[in-house]
Symmetry: C2
Subunit: 392 residues, 2 copies
């Protein structure tokens, strides 16, 4: 099949038919609820910092929404991943299975634990870890030694896996859970992008031992910067709160810290914004789904590209709307990125695959042919909730 | 000298004579400037997160105020210390000289670099590192090996020192600078507590290779949570910005990261609060000095206790007002803490010395007799800027 020269222009027209002709960002937040009121309450109370009622409320509200038994709010999604890995028992010298197709924070968090990422392939239906390929890979490169899954080539313990729910689409969590059990790996779900995404009634981030969320400015809801750790395990929740708040032992005045902790608290000011945003999450999700439907119609007649749809049995938050070019049009990816951005439509490719980054070139990895193909064909297009709203 | 049974009551009365009879916090912020306006500008612009005009402005305003050539705003003071240590060349296996009398973040930041804190003594005039004792200690335990200062007992390189300006009182920075030069140590100033403190015209944190600030809720100005790295070295400033923002290589759409970086950005929302607070810093400093003067008169006639005064040649921000009991009254410290807190006056002792915390018990250390004596005699009393204000 020959890719047509007017392909980028068709994409531009299809996007404009949905979002209009003005310049439009990839993803921007909306603050039309109680953001204002809650920030003012923070200032008036003077509780803007490390303790305050909005932190507790934000945690409780997130627990209610996701169904997680425990939620610990932290300063950002990277900090949440770092602590979740520590709590899952990842120690210096371990390996941790990650998708090569992920944001760099996932791999960096493993490095903070002095462990090594071990990259695995993704599959096109979820854009997340491919369970079939991962099982086959683990069978071929690992063996059980003294109860641990050990990489035969490196001699290191493969301690955990961190599936990520890419652009909000739930990964095949049951397939991966089976692998985690069979190979004795702890599972941490990186749900940074998937607040409001579900697999058969289970919120992303609540199926594994621990899950993590992000509330960066480009996410479905934002706290400015922020994140959270989800878990159904009470002991892990207590430890998560303790080590993210400098491991201080409660005392009416004494400063005693009983282990090396972190200053990973979410400030009350940011939690206040989060509480207001969370109230509007159902509205944002409805608008993002509406946006998907509008894009779906707009791209319906265009050959060579499809709009990523939520996997079967799953409900996606449609955080970032995603075009997938077919193989024949992969060579047009950069032309499409150029044409759209020049037309004022902010678009972007997926992250450079992790094993291609200088610092992770020598990390162990599986065959990554599907991730490499996806990398050459993915384009994210404007996705703000406001684009799916009343305007349609 | 016999400590009198009514000693705690005298302290309570003296504090009340200054702050009144209502319950009063140890330190709380005041938001009576443009906090409101700037937060609203953030929400209206939708730039609450990782980029935004308030981050740039806050950095520029801090540079102007402190005289530092470069300022990089980060998510908190602990993150600032972690990055400053990395930039100063601290690597796994090194030792770093710290005061045993400091907040735990200083030691933890060293641990994040996989280095070991090496604790040194403090002196009563500044409450910071004692240069005379430190020089003597380094002479006795280190030797020069291949251009590096090496601890003869552990064989590890002593790479850096991190003096801290305790409660805002400038440490003897010139004395320490001489030691840093003589022993080849990088100097990072922990100025978390000392925004607005100067030594002969030089702002704390601007004399060493790098300095760090904190804007936690209990500090002289607050951003909710926040910190900053100060340096006069352009190359270090560029690297500080790079590795605190995930080490992303600038590109119009591509996601390429060229080293293991951190998500240590200060959100624009928090920077907005910082800009408004910084405008009021001269007022806060004047009020805190006025509060010192009021306390000074109140404690003038009380035997067994003195109010900590700024060291000669220095200007302190008087972040936390500090009582120092004399040796004969040291046994009364907890009685004073109890009496004051029971009277609704929030007071606290100094931090438990670092070498007494479980995780740092085996860290190398100098003789710490002065720090131990200070630890048994220090009490911080209510210190909010608002207490020194119009009310007097």
């Amino acid at each position: 099949m020959q890719a047509h020269a007017d392909f980028p222009e068709k994409i531009v027209c299809a996007i404009k038919s949905v979002v209009g002709t003005e310049a439009v960002a990839l993803h921007e937040p909306t603050f039309k609820g109680n953001e204002w009121l809650y920030l003012k309450q923070c200032l008036d109370s003077t509780f803007v910092s490390s303790v305050g009622p909005f932190v507790d409320r934000f945690e409780a509200d997130l627990a209610r929404f996701t169904g997680a038994k425990h939620v610990v709010a932290v300063v950002n999604g990277t900090a949440a991943l770092h602590i979740a890995l520590e709590l899952a028992g990842v120690v210096a010298g371990d390996e941790v299975i990650l998708p090569a197709m992920s944001f760099v924070a996932t791999a960096n968090a493993v490095t903070y634990c002095r462990a090594t990422p071990h990259f695995a392939d993704s599959e096109p239906h979820s854009l997340g870890l491919d369970p079939t390929a991962l099982r086959e890979h683990l069978r071929s490169v690992t063996e059980l030694r003294q109860g641990h899954c050990v990489n035969r080539h490196t001699g290191r313990v493969v301690r955990a896996m961190v599936p990520m729910h890419t652009f909000g689409h739930p990964v095949d969590i049951d397939g991966l859970l089976g692998i985690a059990r069979d190979f004795g790996l702890a599972m941490i779900e990186d749900a940074a992008e998937s607040l409001g995404s579900w697999t058969e009634g289970r919120h992303t981030g609540t199926v594994g031992l621990l899950g993590t969320l992000s509330f960066n400015g480009n996410k479905t809801i934002t706290t400015g910067g922020g994140g959270a750790i989800l878990t159904n395990n009470s002991a892990l929740a207590v430890r998560a709160k303790h080590i993210t708040t400098t491991a201080k032992v409660p005392h009416c005045w004494d400063f005693i810290h009983d282990e090396v902790g972190y200053n990973y608290r979410l400030p009350n000011l940011n939690a206040a914004l989060g509480c207001a945003q969370l109230e509007q999450l159902p509205l944002f999700l409805a608008r993002k789904r509406a946006l998907y439907n509008r894009y779906s119609r707009a791209f319906d007649g265009i050959d060579g590209v499809r709009l990523q749809v939520e996997p079967p049995g799953c409900q996606s938050n449609y955080w970032l709307q995603t075009l997938l070019l077919d193989e024949a049009h992969a060579s047009q990816r950069d032309a499409v990125l150029r044409a759209t951005n020049e037309a004022g439509l902010a678009t972007r490719p997926v992250w450079r695959l992790m094993h291609k980054l200088e610092m992770y070139r020598s990390a162990p990895r599986a065959a990554l042919s599907k991730a490499e193909s996806l990398e050459s064909r993915i384009i994210n297009i404007p996705s703000s909730a406001s684009l799916g709203g009343e305007a349609q």
